[in-house]
Symmetry: C2
Subunit: 340 residues, 2 copies
């Protein structure tokens, strides 16, 4: 049992021995239980500091039934959006003394369930970030993951708060922006098929089409990366569109770069929009018009929901349904009037 007898770490027993009291009393002192004689408490504290005693968190976790850790499952840690969510979550959780454990599914949706379950068991709760798994699987998994907070997905399990960005609304506003500038031939560079947020964008664009039958809107497959945008230059030019909405900022930046290489001027010849408003968006040339997702707030909110879940055994009702975050239009230099 246990590890072999390396230089054993200092434990509660050592402190107890040194202070001439029992384990229990040491524990009481360490946890600020005031039913201890001040003199003895002082003796214990002295012994503790002298031995530089630090309680073993694993032992504590087992006894307390909590780990002060939450897990997050992301599809791809190299994606700036998930990095930002992770950061917001981590900072907010740290404020309350919680740490974050990472699980990256590398976009392999079949791994997500195992990964999520494993992470959940190690932690007090789980943030499931834009899971790629199917609805059925998510529905089946959800109950076993509680407490869980979902990002960009929802479930019938009413206990699981859901934070969603209204990509449909955002993309419509971008389309309207372009139409307002006089563009009549638009194109959308679609993201990964498995991405639920891509689906929301497509739904939004369907509404847009219905409202603007006069506008020509082409759907082009791209992806979610720089490279995807860069490689889409040909299909964009071939489409004859003068207003192009990219799946996200990365794709838009790739496109910007590709267009620049071809000598196509932005926004004079073609207007380009992104989505997300990643930090770099305001520093491209031209600066990128985009729909800003309040991503830091998202991570922070995720923690606050999680905290409520962990603290209240019975959640204080009132927050029914998913919380919707509305993207905010950020009009910059990459969009301009259509050519006369």
């Amino acid at each position: 049992m246990g590890r072999r007898a390396t230089t054993r770490r200092i434990g509660i027993a050592d402190v107890a021995l040194k202070a001439g009291v029992s384990h229990a009393t040491v524990s009481r002192v360490m946890n600020g239980n005031f039913t201890v004689d001040p003199a003895i408490a002082e003796r214990v504290r002295a012994a503790a500091t002298e031995l530089n005693y630090q309680p073993n968190p694993v032992g504590r976790s087992l006894a307390l039934g909590k780990t002060d850790t939450i897990g997050i499952v992301v599809p791809d840690l190299s994606n700036p959006t998930f990095q930002a969510i992770l950061r917001g979550l981590s900072m907010a959780a740290a404020q309350d003394g919680y740490r974050v454990l990472i699980a990256d599914s590398s976009e392999v949706s079949s791994e997500e369930a195992i990964l999520a379950g494993e992470a959940r068991r190690r932690c007090d709760g789980l943030v499931l970030c834009a899971p790629r798994m199917g609805d059925a699987e998510l529905e089946e998994l959800a109950p076993s993951l509680h407490p869980m907070v979902l990002i960009n997905r929802s479930t019938l399990d009413t206990r699981a708060p859901s934070l969603m960005v209204d990509y449909g609304q955002g993309i419509q506003e971008l389309a309207e922006l372009l139409v307002g500038l006089g563009h009549t031939r638009l194109a959308f560079l679609a993201g990964p098929t498995r991405s639920a947020s891509n689906g929301l964008r497509l739904q939004g664009l369907e509404k847009f089409k219905a409202a603007h039958p006069e506008i020509n809107l082409r759907m082009l497959d791209a992806g979610s990366s720089f490279e995807a945008g860069h490689q889409s230059v040909d299909s964009v030019l071939a489409s004859g569109a003068t207003g192009v909405m990219a799946f996200n900022d990365l794709v838009a930046m790739g496109l910007l770069s590709g267009l620049h290489e071809r000598g196509v001027r932005v926004p004079e010849d073609i207007s380009v929009t992104g989505f997300d408003d990643i930090p770099f968006a305001r520093y491209t040339t031209p600066t990128l018009s985009t729909a800003a997702v309040p991503i830091n707030e998202l991570g922070q909110q995720a923690w606050h929901r999680m905290r409520d879940l962990i603290r209240n055994v019975s959640p204080d009702a009132g927050t029914e349904g998913p919380t919707i975050f509305l993207p905010r239009l950020e009009v910059r230099g990459s969009t301009g009037p259509a050519k006369a």
Copy 2:
């Protein structure tokens, strides 16, 4: 003791009961101990799957004395460099079944020691990433953190592997590049004072100065962010330099953006270099010449060192001193010949 009687999770005892065997036997079966009768093993496995039993990792950790988790302390998770290291570390560790716990010190160097200690206690090892604390403090802390891997710092504790990037060499190569292009008036946009890597760059530049007394090199304070670069435009222009080396890619991009706003052409009027080769560097306009730090490899290496540390009680000597990573020059569009 323990948590209150919520719907108690399924434990080893339940499986044992259902299979009509003892805890011990269930444990043996779950851990592939072959001293169990195949028939009984099968019965146990059946019970386990039927109850959907999953061992509690906290209990396991306590018994085994390991958590299958490593910690990483970073000064600022919003920095792309640290994000990339985190990612490389996380991916590599995941391959071996380890997870990563995050601790962000928010650049508050006084918090680092506590944060590091706390993280270390929860994990089987710690990666200390570019710590901002002083040398003395680091030296004092190091032994208590073992097993630990250091990034961009080193310590006298020979047990702690150290992965370092030779920023001094990299910045010299960039300076040489500019000199080779005919630039004689250079400027360096310095990073945060506390940053050790900034110090290494300054040392490299001192060597450069010694080797090239004919070159005029100005040091300008900037910082490590976009904004820092953006705000340095005035001082750069005032310096009269035609070749500017930024502390890192972010600063360079900020500068690029600011110069563009001023109508200064890059590289015709001024050449700009970055450092790091973050993913965005190849997509700026013009594309950014920089010194590429093999950042993914760094995270991965950090894990491999950690793994060796965790596995071998006595490290297989041979890897003496820090591992040095040499930046690789990435010449792109932001550097060009000095004006005639």
